[in-house]
Amino acid sequence: EDQVTQSPEALRLQEGESSSLNCSYTVSGLRGLFWYRQDPGKGPEFLFTLYSAGEEKEKERLKATLTKKESFLHITAPKPEDSATYLCAVQLGSGTGKLIFGQGTTLQVKP
């Protein structure tokens, strides 16, 4: 069964303390891996799509990487405004646009 697992479930960091979030997946055929940010009461906000192992993408303090079994979202010198739930989702190569989501990692950055 296709599955996406994110860890940790929750992460507390001090402002400036860098860390990484993990998204591991077991799927029959990966077309793409998506990262989203979600603030309370809002819809997921698109961050990155990664399509092949070895690919990396960056946006401000965030950097996403992809291997054949997992993806990491690295947060460098986070600020309190980076506090949110980060969601990982995979899309299979079967023709449908369906995304399979993980449970998310809730990040809290304290000043």
Binding site: G32, G43, P44, G95, G97, L99, F101
Partner: protein, 113 residues
């Protein structure tokens, strides 16, 4: 450019009633998706439209749920009759291509009492 919009933002109904949710995708996006998140669970796929055609409806839970996209623009998701377990947040998303980024709306929070 306007993002994905959803209406209503909240809905509280009694078990057995009917509710219709609406989604307006980003202009020009042929692909439209419905997802939902029930309490404590991950976001789950419901269905995928390409223009007005249902490309994949494998996530629709049962025949109480009916999605339409007449004319390939906005979409509606009707729940009839609603059950308690239908409570959750219903998200709509749209994308330009199937493999491209999906942009989500703010969601409709449905509570069935």
């Amino acid at each position: 450019e306007a993002g994905v919009t959803q209406f209503p933002s909240h809905s509280v109904i009694e078990k057995g009633q009917t509710v219709t949710l609406r989604c307006d995708p980003i202009s020009g996006h042929d692909n439209l998706y419905w997802y939902r998140r029930v309490m404590g669970k991950e976001i789950k796929f419901l269905l995928h439209f390409v223009k007005e055609s249902k490309q994949d409806e494998s996530g629709m839970p049962n025949n109480r749920f009916l999605a339409e996209r007449t004319g390939g623009t906005y979409s509606t998701l009707k729940v009839q009759p609603a059950e308690l377990e239908d409570s959750g947040v219903y998200f709509c998303a749209s994308s330009q291509t199937v493999q491209g980024a999906q942009y989500f709306g703010p969601g409709t929070r449905l509570l069935v009492l």
